[in-house]
């Protein structure tokens, strides 16, 4: 099993601040996905990155896939309370997803 390490595990910041969370592995991935899970709901896909060095933007969220395809980061600019949730990275495959343990993000008003 290819392990995905996410950091930090918990992050609580004030509204308007910027933050970055990380997803790292010792293995190379063909692709990586980021999901967000809100309390009482299932995870929802935010983005899929495939190419080493790829950068994707989703409004205030910027996702980057490392050049060597072993790591990824999610940067949030001017965080809002609505960004609160559990952020999960996952390696995809026909045999299901392998998830990191996630970063619990709380944005305080």
């Amino acid at each position: 099993t290819q392990l995905l390490e996410q950091s930090p595990q918990f992050l609580s910041i004030q509204e308007g601040e910027n933050l970055t969370v990380y997803c790292n592995s010792s293995s190379v991935f063909s692709s990586l996905q980021w999901y967000r899970q809100e309390p009482g709901e299932g995870p929802v896909l935010l983005v899929t990155v495939v190419t080493g060095g790829e950068v994707k933007k989703l409004k205030r969220l910027t996702f980057q896939f490392g050049d060597a395809r072993k790591d990824s980061s999610l940067h949030i600019t001017a965080a809002q309370p609505g960004d609160t949730g559990l952020y999960l990275c996952a390696r995809g495959g026909a045999d299901g997803l392998t998830f990191g343990k996630g970063t619990h993000l709380i944005i305080q008003p």
Binding site: Q33, G40, G42, G93, D95, G100, K101, G102
Partner: protein, 114 residues
Amino acid sequence: DVKVTQSSRYLVKRTGEKVFLECVQDMDHENMFWYRQDPGLGLRLIYFSYDVKMKEKGDIPEGYSVSREKKERFSLILESASTNQTSMYLCASSLHGSSTDTQYFGPGTRLTVL
């Protein structure tokens, strides 16, 4: 709109009971999955199915079985529930089996085994 539904949001059962968790998707997806989610352990794959009547073990299949008699429905069965199976259970589906496929999740069933 894509939809995965799970039969119960909350369930309380007693040790030794047989428990059925049902999942239905309306997207004509080939693949369906069952995960459990526990604090500090994250989401872990229990079983998955890539076609009707087909099933494959995931990372933690012990104590569970599954059934897929129809394409849209994937059931998780706890033959004899135990307290260590208290968890959040999440069902998901995807169109195909590629590594870039989106998985669509249901809202989860929080199972408590007393």
